[in-house]
């Protein structure tokens, strides 16, 4: 490739990535040259500014044509834009949480790293959304994962944090190996790593043997990526990792990482297996044929997530199971494969972003105050801080999926999808039944917040029992609540933006 060629590439479509990358570099350097005792928070703010700038540039790209560079390894289509927005938004909120996070247990030595590792993980997620090639997908995935491993264990002096990171590394390693193994067969059968090329090849597939092999590789990829989503039965790392990791990291894992996971699942499954013929051209694609497997996984995920969450006494663990359950709901949308699937997944992830981020912000505040993450620590929150309590109440209601909140609209959207094409009665029933089960634990937290008296000790503390909310937390809470309620009442603000500017379905396969 000559320099001219190099120059002639439309690098501008990578502007958001470049912004983040540049800021990472700047932050690394700044961290290096900053005096040791200087507060690193400034790095966090710079990071936030960078993310916002990236978001603006992504917004600016909305409505354009599909473009791709570097031999179609990097593509910018509506799908990428839509999910990049989510990922960047989630990243920004995580950074807000991070700036307000009290650095302890070794984190105080690495606050600088904390921010730019978050940014690099974010970069990985962004790459994943835009990748048009198995290689870039994989690189993006690992670019997201490896910093995540470090982030989970960044509180070096805290055993739980170490353990959580260790478990994450091992499980993540195994899963990516499995997924990669599956991908290698896909490559072997097509001789290409480019997704669209693969799709083109596979739609001509005639040989039953090969289709068989492809089916196996489908399962392997599904399982490998299922780890990222924390779909049952590949979910078991999630509770431990979520519990041990620092709260902003948990928030990051449960929102950004999961979003990225869904991005890659949709991307691979739809392009590669959505067109892979089972029995010669024009026959039913593997993906449709595999719908039942997906449905089983989705149902298992919803059931396990919601049911086991009932037994938890640690709030972060409970939210881990809750996020497993939400992954299950999202998988319902993936399973149904209807035309509004992109929109329903996107909208659900948007709603999930708001409600989960907000909830983790509250968790962060409360657990910093009490020094533990027991659900019982929320007792009497309403007395101690009514606003915080009401905020958490709204977010929990949204998570439980009651009307008036974005969580409801998201669920409704998925639910409609389950009936829009071929109706999936059982799956829809499981979804709604487990939703009712989820009332138990969400409202269990509310019981603590609103009904239980505050523990006697903290009542005596007087002034000390007041919560002082750092700016970052306040921002997150406001965004979360406004988002949850606004999109619950007027979801078309978001939905219409999608429809008017982004033609995902059209772009996705071109």
């Amino acid at each position: 490739m000559s320099f001219d060629q190099f120059q002639s590439l439309n690098w501008s479509i990578m502007t958001p990535e470049f912004i983040i990358l540049a800021v990472i570099a700047i932050l690394v350097i700044m961290d290096l040259f900053m005096p040791k005792h200087m507060d690193r928070k400034i790095l966090g703010w710079i990071g936030i500014a960078a993310i916002l700038a990236a978001m603006v540039s992504v917004f600016g790209m909305a409505g354009g044509h599909v473009e791709s560079i570097l031999h179609d390894t990097f593509r910018l289509d509506s799908f990428a834009i839509a999910f990049k927005l989510l990922i960047l938004g989630g990243g920004a909120l995580v950074l807000f949480l991070a700036t307000s996070y009290k650095a302890t247990d070794g984190l105080e030595r690495y606050t600088g790293e904390f921010y730019y590792l978050l940014l690099s993980a974010l970069l990985g997620a962004m790459v994943m959304t835009s990748s048009g090639d198995l290689i870039t997908l994989y690189i993006g995935l690992e670019l997201l994962s490896i910093p995540s491993y470090i982030l989970a264990g960044i509180q070096k002096d805290r055993l739980n944090s170490n353990e959580s990171a260790m478990k994450y590394v091992i499980n993540g390693g195994i899963s990516s190996a499995i997924a990669l193994f599956g991908m290698s067969y896909v490559y072997g059968l097509t001789g290409s790593t480019n997704l669209l090329e693969i799709a083109g090849q596979l739609s001509m597939l005639m040989d039953g043997q090969q289709a068989y092999l492809l089916g196996l590789s489908f399962l392997m990829i599904l399982v490998g990526l299922g780890f990222k989503l924390a779909a049952a039965p590949f979910h078991m790392w999630a509770p431990d990792v979520y519990q041990g990791a620092p709260t902003p990291v948990t928030a990051f894992l449960s929102v950004v990482s999961k979003t990225a996971g869904f991005v890659i699942v949709v991307r691979i499954l739809l392009t590669v297996f959505g067109s892979a013929a089972t029995n010669g051209p024009g026959s039913i694609p593997i993906l449709l044929d595999m719908q039942n497997y997906l449905a089983v996984i989705a149902a298992a995920t919803m059931i396990i997530g919601n049911v086991v969450a009932l037994r938890q006494s640690d709030i972060k663990r409970m939210f881990a199971y809750s996020s497993i359950a939400h992954a299950g709901y999202l998988l319902v949308a993936v399973t149904t494969l209807t035309s509004n699937m992109f929109y329903s997944i996107w909208f659900y992830l948007l709603a999930y972003l708001f409600m989960n981020m907000g909830a983790f912000a509250v968790i962060q505040v409360v657990s910093e105050k009490t020094g533990s993450t027991k659900i019982a620590d929320f007792a009497g929150l309403y007395r101690r801080s009514p606003w915080l309590a009401v905020t958490m109440g709204i977010l929990l209601i949204s998570l439980a999926g009651f009307p008036g909140t974005a969580g409801f609209i998201g669920k409704l959207n998925i639910f409609v999808g389950a009936f829009a094409g071929q109706p999936h009665y059982v799956l829809a029933s499981v979804m709604i039944a487990t939703t009712v089960v989820s009332y138990f634990y969400y409202f269990g937290v509310m019981t603590q917040i609103f009904f239980r008296p505050a523990p006697a000790a903290s009542e005596g503390e007087g002034e000390g029992s007041k919560f002082n909310l750092p700016f970052g937390i306040v921002v997150v809470l406001i965004v979360a609540v406004v988002g949850s309620v606004l999109f619950g009442i007027m979801p078309n603000i978001a939905l219409d933006f999608m429809h008017n500017n982004l033609d995902i379905v059209q772009d996705f396969f071109s």
């Binding site: 470090i150 260790m166 290698s184 001789g191 519990q243």
Partner: protein, 104 residues
């Protein structure tokens, strides 16, 4: 070279992968577990390289993919070992079955 059929390479990769998986799931020493994961990734690499040469449509992409995979695997191993070090500092053990402080 051509006397060795492609299926032999694929079988080797599969066996290697299974050994890796077995090791990752059964060994007590975390270092060995990490190495086993490397084995699994290397099995993938064998696959990729084999397909790049003997696949349906041989192409160089497979080898490129394998290079990327190696680099990533190295990074992953490095991070894994680093985390293990800090864990060891706190817990004085590298046995993976003793890392069960968080459960249920």
């Amino acid at each position: 070279m051509s006397s060795v059929p492609a299926s032999a390479f694929l079988a080797l990769a599969l066996i290697l992968f299974c050994i890796g998986l077995y090791g990752a799931l059964t060994k007590r020493n975390t270092v060995i577990v990490l190495i086993s994961i490397e084995l699994m990734l290397n099995a993938v690499n064998i696959n990729l390289v084999t397909f790049s040469k003997y696949g349906m449509a041989p192409s160089i992409t497979g080898q490129v993919f394998a290079l990327f995979a190696m680099a990533v695997a190295a990074a992953e191993a490095a991070v894994g070992l680093a985390i293990l070090m800090s864990l060891y500092r706190n817990k004085k053990t590298v046995n993976i079955d003793e890392m069960d402080q968080m459960k249920h």
